[in-house]
Structure formats: structure tokens, C-alpha cells
């Protein structure tokens, strides 16, 4: 995996911000669009590889859904589960597309998660 140090640093910085700002955050994973982990903050490392691959598939399926419905690009996929939320956002950096996945508990406010995740994604896109 060829990742420039600048992007790697920006990914680490985005994770720091999201872990700090989002109430109820459980994990943040940044991965390549083909599902390889770039950076993560979560206790269970096995879960990171899994989440990277799942985020990759979901982002790709979201992209197809958007195109087939003539709605344009898929910017994010949100999942509301019994015990929390998962938000996956695409960061389209000129060198490569990355996927930012944020896993939160139920106490997180989805609007707040979306706000901070979008901000972090934009910074990552311009790194």
C-alpha cells in the first residue's frame, strides 16, 4: 500500500479530532476504498480489518445505488443499529479515495457525528 506520509498524518489527526469531539464514539477507522486499514483507534484490532472491508463494500454499494437512482455520488452511508450508529464517509483526496468510519454508542447525536465527521473528511481531502 503506497500512502504518502502527509496523508497518513492527516488520517491520524482526523482520528484524534473525532475521538475527542464526538460524544459516545467507540471507534474511528480510516481505510482505503478497497478496504485496507490506514489508521484506526479502537480496542479490538481484529474488528478494524473487518470494518475496513465492510466500509469498502458499503461505500461501493452506496455509490452504485446513487448512480442507478441518478442521484449522483454517494458521500456517506449511515447505519442505525440497536445499540449505536455507524457512519461511513468518503474522503476524495486527489491521490486516493479514503473511507472514514465512525462507530458510536446510542448516546451519540447523529447530527453532531455527521457534522464533525464531515469536517474531518474535508480536512483529509485537502491534506
Amino acid at each position: 500500500m503506497n500512502i504518502t506520509p502527509r496523508i497518513r498524518l492527516a488520517a491520524e489527526s482526523a482520528i484524534d479530532t473525532l475521538m475527542r469531539e464526538i460524544k459516545g464514539v467507540k471507534a474511528v477507522v480510516i481505510s482505503t476504498e478497497d478496504g485496507l486499514e490506514l489508521a484506526a483507534r479502537v480496542e479490538n484490532t481484529a474488528q478494524v480489518a473487518r470494518l475496513s472491508a465492510i466500509a469498502s463494500s458499503l461505500a461501493a454499494l452506496g455509490a452504485v445505488a446513487g448512480e442507478e437512482s441518478q442521484l449522483g455520488h454517494c458521500d456517506n452511508v449511515a447505519i442505525e443499529a440497536t445499540h449505536g450508529h455507524i457512519l461511513m464517509l468518503q474522503a476524495r483526496h486527489p491521490e486516493m479515495t479514503l473511507i472514514v468510519s465512525v462507530v458510536t454508542s446510542r448516546e451519540a447525536i447523529i447530527g453532531q457525528v455527521l457534522y464533525f465527521a464531515k469536517q474531518a473528511t474535508q480536512l483529509l481531502q485537502h491534506a
Binding site: 478496504g35 480489518a49 465492510i54
Partner: protein, 174 residues
């Protein structure tokens, strides 16, 4: 009423799953290819979700063709896509370092589906990489208790892909 079957294409990254489906599909195929960042494989893009295409056979039966991602990290998609499938075509790339071990991955990953339905193993790039031969594949499958046809195939040739599908359906009639 039109008879419809769900057929799965699986196999290693670069074996030709996307190409096979795109080559025979009568609708614009659905593809979820993205840029490949795995530098150990010299391939520009890779499927991360699924491929989808449709084909109507001469007898009027309609096939819904699904392609899986090849890499094991996407095995959750294998399980999702395998649900309700009538059979699976496993594509193996004979130019890879250990294609028999590759075959094992998919025989194991789809063991339940293969035991309940039908399977065809198609070995690609045999013209440039003749070893291991078809016999070696047959022995490997026999050792795992899998009985299904194994044959060389070039999936860039749509005719050969249709033949693979017909061979798969033939097993279900036996």
C-alpha cells in the same frame, strides 16, 4: 412465468469474474470496482461489493449473475451473495503462485453452497501456465470430497462463459 436462477462467480482477484459477467450480460453490468491499493497484485482496480449481470439462455431461462470480491477480507460478502444461489462458478488463475491453495480457499468458503447445489471450476491462463494440470485440480477436489467439473477456460471469451454456465445447469438436471 420466466424461470430465473441466481448464479455466483467467485475466485481469486484478477481471475476474471468481472470480465466474465460483463462479457455475457445483456444489461449494462453493475460493478463496484475501485482502485486497488494492494501492491502485491498488479491490477488497477478490484471489486469490493459485487458484480451483477443478467443473461437469458436459449431455452428462455434467465440467469442472474453475481460476482463476489476475491479477497478473503470480503468473505462476509461471500455469505451474503451465496444466499439463494443455484450454483457457483469458481475461477482460478493458473499464473498465480499457488493456484491449488487458491482453489482450497473457495472450496472451503463456499463448502455449504457447493454441497447443496452445483459447482464448476474454470482454470484460466493454462495456455501460458500449464502447471498444475487439470488432473491436479481434480485430485485436490476429490481429496475434499467435491465432485464437480474442472476445465480450462478463457473467460474473456463470452462463448466459453456461456458454456461454463450451461455445464453448471446441466449438473442440476442430473
Amino acid at each position: 412465468m420466466t424461470v430465473e436462477h441466481k448464479i455466483l462467480f467467485t475466485g481469486t482477484m484478477g481471475a476474471g469474474k468481472t470480465t466474465a459477467i460483463a462479457g455475457v450480460s445483456e444489461i449494462p453490468p453493475v460493478s463496484t470496482d475501485v482502485r486497488n491499493s494492494d501492491t502485491s497484485v498488479a491490477k488497477a482496480t478490484t471489486t469490493v461489493g459485487l458484480d451483477y449481470g443478467e443473461l437469458t439462455l436459449d431455452n428462455g431461462e434467465k440467469l442472474r449473475l453475481y460476482g463476489t470480491p476475491g479477497q478473503m477480507r470480503f468473505d462476509f460478502m461471500w455469505r451474503i451473495l451465496g444466499r439463494g444461489a443455484l450454483g457457483v462458478v469458481i475461477l482460478v488463475d493458473n499464473s498465480r503462485p499457488d493456484p491449488l491453495a487458491d482453489l482450497d480457499i473457495y472450496l472451503d468458503g463456499f463448502a455449504e453452497l457447493i454441497a447443496q447445489t452445483a459447482c464448476v471450476v474454470a482454470v484460466g491462463r493454462m495456455e501460458t501456465h500449464p502447471s498444475p494440470g487439470i488432473d491436479a485440480y481434480a485430485r485436490r477436489m476429490e481429496a475434499k470430497g467435491v465432485v464437480c467439473p474442472v476445465l480450462p477456460a478463457n473467460v474473456t471469451d463470452a462463448q466459453q462463459v456461456v458454456q461454463l454456465l450451461e455445464l453448471l445447469l446441466l449438473q442440476l438436471e442430473v
